[in-house]
Amino acid sequence: MKIVVATDPGHDKATKHLSHWMLDILNHAKSLGDVEMSVLQGGDATQSKLTKMVEARNPSLIVLNGHGTQDLVMGFNNAILVSTDEKTLKIFAKKIVHALACESGKQLGAVMIKFGTKAFVGYTEKFEFYAEADPFTSTGKDRIASYFLDPANTVVKCLCEGDDARTAYGKSQDEYKKSLVAIYTSTDSYIATNRQFLAASVWKNLNSQTLLGDGAATV
């Protein structure tokens, strides 16, 4: 059984969008049959609860959704979940980490690898996206946000399917490229009017997504 632990703070508009997509990942994990995914949602997305959960479940993949800077990723209400401080890094040793958080691939990812994380996929620049709907009121998938969040979450889905980190990263990069093509070939008037902006942010995320550590690592 593949064990996955994820954080899903969902305390503001941006993280609520990530929560919407977390449901998609959860459904995918369930459909695979051999993945057990535990999600620390809302106020449970704290450093202490993550530590307890990781110690109890011993996951091979940890998914961090939240705000980030180059040396930390945050949880509920932007409290620090993990930083370059050695004390917070221990629970990530021998795990694969996916961080959907701004800039965490710049420094934090490398420090995690130094302290024993097998592989890290994250972003060296600020993660950007557009959305058409308010995540509080929207139902189903936001067609604009999907250009950004589907490619990002491909990493987690592929790792759950059994791909190694390098393959999962490569498939995610391909999904970003597909988003670019979809934006440029769409006849939808909203997308046509805003093509330049949507494509620029997809391009930025594609180029700042980084894989560190052992590309052959699997969940």
């Binding site: 597909k178 093509v181 330049q196």
Partner: protein, 93 residues
């Protein structure tokens, strides 16, 4: 100011920044009013409407500078053929 423009021959940095700011403001003028842009700032990730983006780009503050940087890097990648290569290889994806 935290915006680093790309140096160009015969132009000082302030002129380049002004020029790039004008390009992005012109692009934003044609955007949909219901545009919702999300990006991380020093105060966490926030969402911005078209009207708010125009204000931030006009002020060249943290959000405005990040937005200009994203747009200009994309335009440069378009110019040097990187985007065209991806669009041309769409059949293989």
């Amino acid at each position: 100011m935290n915006y680093q423009s790309y140096k160009r021959d015969g132009m000082n940095e302030a002129d380049v920044i002004t020029q790039e700011q004008e390009v992005v403001l012109a692009q934003l003028g044609a955007a949909s009013p219901e545009l919702h842009f999300f990006v991380g700032t020093s105060e966490g990730t926030k969402s911005y409407t078209k009207k708010e983006l125009i204000k931030h780009v006009g002020q060249l503050d943290e959000v405005g500078c990040e937005f200009i940087k994203t747009q200009m890097e994309f335009l440069r990648s378009f110019q040097n053929g990187e985007i065209a290569d991806i669009l041309a290889s769409a059949v293989e994806l």
